[in-house]
Symmetry: C2
Subunit: 141 residues, 2 copies
């Protein structure tokens, strides 16, 4: 587990890919993981090549993000601590991006295959729990 | 929720696909689902086109299986209740196959794309918890 910010609000956890001649197995999230904050919902979001979804900031939900197909660049902003970063998940960097509530997130699809993100979220999705802003509100870097 | 057997040990739950011009969203499993039996681990398994993985019977793990890419045929046997069935998940039939412990499961990849299955499992994976048999032990139908 590698904290990406000094406040330990965003972390990257490398995950195992287990080769199998009939089809590989890919770890995602375990109950025993330090960054697991409870289970509310698991869902997938996809993002087309070159499309950018965001900005969204969850007020309660802790996200565990895993890219199982394609490649996705995540843009992360902690505006209360004056921190930002981008991080790409995909086959060359297979792991979990663990994001605490309070972080602004946007993400961009990087391949013309289906770019598929699993979110194992601590809370079930309810629209009122998240705050959104237009993409133009923060410049991308 | 549609029980596939009379003992309510295997069920199919259709899931929502939410269209979005930047990339669709796909429901998987919620804490509030009747068939959710707790969270132990989420992991992916893939199965190549024409390959068949199985047989495996979990003794404790309740599985919630969702095919997010490609198409997979699942073969299910309840040998204590003399029941079997097969069920195909994929884009034409997007949903969750909820499988209680005690059911023999095998599955076959049906496309030359990556056939990707998410399992939201009630227990973390431990090899001792599952019983395996060679494919030839039960004829496929």
């Amino acid at each position: 587990m590698v904290s990406l910010d000094k406040n330990n609000r965003v972390a990257y956890i490398p995950l195992m890919q287990i080769p199998n001649e009939k089809g590989d197995v890919f770890h995602a999230v375990k109950k025993s993981d330090n960054h697991f904050k409870g289970f509310g919902e698991a869902y997938f979001t996809t993002v087309k090549n070159g499309a950018i979804k965001g900005w969204k900031k969850h007020t309660l939900m802790h996200m565990n993000l895993v890219v199982i197909h394609g490649e996705v660049c995540f843009y992360l902003i902690d505006d209360q601590n004056n921190w930002n970063a981008s991080y790409t998940l995909g086959p060359k960097n297979y792991g979990c991006l663990s994001v605490s509530p309070g972080i602004w997130v946007a993400f961009k699809g990087l391949t013309d295959q289906k770019n598929i993100i699993l979110n194992v979220a601590s809370e079930p999705h309810v629209p009122e729990e998240a705050i959104t802003k237009p993409l133009s509100d923060f410049p991308l870097w």
